[in-house]
């Protein structure tokens, strides 16, 4: 298990490889469909994303005794942000993107060029991941986009992820798909021959 703690420097990010199991400690910013489109349209983020981590997540957040508390926070499907992600990595200096399901070629190439990684959280594990969120530091654009689509600043500790796209041009999604495609071709060729 590799520990990745703030500050998230380019050097630390470039040292990660596809397949590494990582625990993140530091600050992450949630951002999903509305925020990605809004940044892509040229709006300036209310917080600096430089050397930051974006988490594709629409958390369930409740106010308890005047404090925000995250009660469920699993990843959402990342591929919807594929048209926007590469540009946001480049323009805002994002160092890592957390999500699920993987991303495409544009994002893979942006990760390689600008020193960023894609970190895969376990889909559906809303409770385990909420436990790793220790504090809600702030929230931005809550009124404009509503709770699931707002930018939540979350302090996380030992947040578990797997590197599936690294900063060296490798993608686990691409590899697994190619491998399973070969296996499929062999299985298909056997069907009906027994």
């Amino acid at each position: 298990m590799i520990q990745l703690s703030a500050p998230f420097t380019e050097e630390k990010i470039r040292s990660l490889k596809v397949g590494d199991m990582v625990e993140i400690t530091g600050l992450v910013f949630t951002g999903r469909d509305a925020i990605h489109k809004w940044l892509h349209d040229g709006n300036e983020p209310p917080v600096s994303l430089k050397d930051g981590i974006i988490y594709h997540c629409g958390p369930v957040v409740m106010k308890k005794k005047g404090q925000w508390v995250v009660t469920a926070a699993g990843p959402t499907t990342s591929i919807r942000e594929e048209p926007y992600q590469a540009g946001i990595i480049e323009k805002h200096g994002v160092r890592a993107v957390i999500g699920k399901g993987g991303m495409g070629e544009k994002t893979r190439l942006a990760c390689q060029k600008f020193g960023c990684v894609y970190l895969h959280a376990v889909g559906g594990a809303a409770q385990v991941l909420a436990e790793a969120i220790k504090k809600v530091r702030d929230v931005h654009l809550l009124e404009k986009f509503g709770s699931p689509e707002a930018i939540w600043e979350l302090e996380v500790e030992a947040f578990p992820v797997v590197v599936t796209i690294d900063a060296h041009g490798n993608s686990l999604h691409k590899d697994i798909e190619a491998e399973s495609s070969q296996n499929l071709a062999q299985l298909m060729a056997q069907i009906g021959k027994k």
Binding site: M21, K100, G102, G123, A126, V162, H173, S180
Partner: protein, 297 residues
């Protein structure tokens, strides 16, 4: 139906929703554990399944939704003829609104034209309610919550399909099933379970795939031809190497359930629904007085 019975039934339905959202049935938990034992030590597949196992325990302990996507709400209700079925349906919908307020369900029903979410989970088409009278004197309620990620990777094939070389026979069906798993990769939050229908029309085919998910993981298909097909497809899908969450590994699927419907001579559909590992299915035998007598899974 007296107002006090309606009130009692509403409470009962809310409890069924809570349990379904927070607790996986034991047969699914057992399948996750089997997958965990199958994966190589220290592998990414084992790691994903360990987190999944921990999440299942934590959600149950905290009585909170185990996945934040509480999904499509699918009710299957049978009721004694003496009860008013229309009114019973209304009580189910009231329970959905109340369970959403309590946080057992996410606000998950969006107007497809305006994009608005009224926050109640009740609207055209939601929740899905299959409700039928029967001769018995108790109510049976089965409930499934199916997330959007896995719903999105379902697939329907019309045979013959030249892309995958599938003809109109069981070999062709098997090719469809394996292709659907390959297309889904890890996007459906695997290891998953497939519900498959051979035949029917485009609507009834998909409808019946969901009903396959009401079966227990280890049950045996009463039709020996389908039982064999299920075993073979499960075994072969797990040779693809996609693994938990698409991280690679031996456990791509935990189960395959297949049913068959008659078809038109001109049509031969194979419909495949994917259920994620967060396979939320519960059921209860409810007395005519509205009390839960027995959990079904």
């Amino acid at each position: 139906m007296t107002s006090s019975l309606q009130k009692k039934l509403q409470e009962t339905f809310i409890e069924i929703i809570r349990k379904t959202s927070a607790e996986l049935p034991q047969d699914v938990v057992d399948a996750v554990v089997e997958g965990l034992e199958r994966e190589a030590k220290e592998s990414r597949g084992e790691y994903a399944l360990k987190i999944i196992q921990k999440n299942i325990e934590l959600a149950k302990k905290k009585s909170q939704p185990l996945c934040q996507d509480t999904g499509s709400i699918l009710f299957y209700v049978h009721y004694p003829r003496k009860l008013d079925g229309e009114l019973l349906g209304k009580v189910v919908k009231k329970a959905v609104v109340a369970a959403t307020k309590k946080g057992y369900l996410r606000q998950n029903s969006v107007d497809s034209l305006t994009g608005q979410n009224n926050g109640t989970n009740v609207g055209p088409g939601t929740p899905t309610l299959h409700i039928e009278p029967w001769k018995k004197d108790h109510i049976e309620v089965k409930l499934m919550l199916k997330g959007g990620g896995c719903e999105n990777v379902g697939a329907q094939y019309s045979l013959p399909d030249s892309r995958i070389g599938a003809g109109r026979d069981l070999n062709g069906v098997k090719k469809c099933i394996l292709d659907a798993v390959q297309q889904a990769q890890g996007k459906g939050c695997g290891p998953g379970v497939l519900g498959v229908t051979i035949g029917g029309d485009r609507a009834t085919g998909y409808l019946a795939t969901k009903e396959q998910f009401l079966r227990k993981m280890k049950d045996k298909n009463p039709n020996p031809v389908l039982a064999k097909l299920e075993d073979e497809c499960l075994n072969e899908a797990n040779q693809l190497g996609i693994g938990p969450m698409g991280f690679g590994g031996k456990t791509t699927l935990m189960g395959v359930k297949v049913g068959a419907l008659n078809r038109l001579p001109a049509s031969y559909f194979v419909s495949v629904s994917y259920m994620c590992w967060a396979y939320r299915r519960q059921g209860a035998k409810v007395s005519a007085r509205g009390e839960i007598q027995k959990w079904l899974y």
